[in-house]
Amino acid sequence: MITLLYFARLREALGTGREELALPSGINTLGALRDHLSKRGDAWAREMADGRNLRAAVNQDVAAADTPIKDGDEIAFFPPVTGG
């Protein structure tokens, strides 16, 4: 299982902030996971689309599309940060 977290605009658009998911077979990078999630359609297709300015973290470290992911990881998707 992996833990998926969504924050801010993304959390609201997807209607969820957190889910547990069995890592789909053949998905072993962050980019592949994003593609997989975008196939859920509707808000998922829109928010996870390639053109969207989305950031992600794997186990609380900022991560790029080619970052490897594995069972047990905490993976977060979110918009560019706006704190401070």
Binding site: F7, A8, R9, Q60, V81, T82, G83
Partner: protein
């Protein structure tokens, strides 16, 4: 959304990182820092404040969301980077979350050093990186309704002028 964390490491690596709903007292934090280390000669601070106008619209309240755990980790890493570039005797970052209104304090960065050049540079560096690297998001309530604040290009530029940040 409630979250509190506190790290204080002894000696040369003194630093604190806190994410909290409650307000902070700059004088109390400065006093703790000064009394803890008589080598401190210079303390630079930054306080971010909620403005009543943003992007031309009046702001009634603002809600700050964050990513508990990663926030503290990201800020601790930012302070570590500052320490590698300048003499930092002590550093503190407090970032508030939850609902705030205009004139409320949002964020506090304090850096203490022997001399003021290091204190100013490290404080501004930490703030610039915090704005682009630490996972906080602002949502404003305006007369036109609620809206998520968009990231500012000027903030990315401000962080970029310090050069690339290495992973520790």
């Amino acid at each position: 959304m409630k979250s509190l964390s506190f790290h204080r490491l002894p000696g040369a690596d003194a630093m604190s990182v806190r994410v909290q709903e409650q307000d902070f007292d700059v004088s109390a934090e400065l006093a703790l820092m000064r009394i803890g280390n008589p080598k401190i000669g210079a303390i630079a601070s930054f306080v971010g404040v909620v403005r009543d106008i943003n992007e031309g619209d009046s702001v009634a309240t603002m809600t700050l969301e964050h990513y508990p755990g990663m926030t503290e980790k990201a800020i601790t890493e930012i302070i570590g980077q500052a320490r590698g570039r300048w003499e930092v005797l002590d550093a503190l970052v407090i970032h508030r979350v939850g609902t705030l209104k205009p004139t409320d304090q949002i964020v506090l960065v304090i850096v203490a050093s022997t001399h003021r050049g290091d204190a100013f540079a490290a404080c501004e560096f930490i703030m610039d990186y915090l704005k682009t690297q630490a996972p906080f998001w602002k949502k404003e309530i305006t007369p036109q309704g609620a809206r998520w604040v968009d990231a500012r290009v000027t903030d990315s530029r401000a962080a970029e002028r310090w050069g690339s940040i290495e992973k520790s």
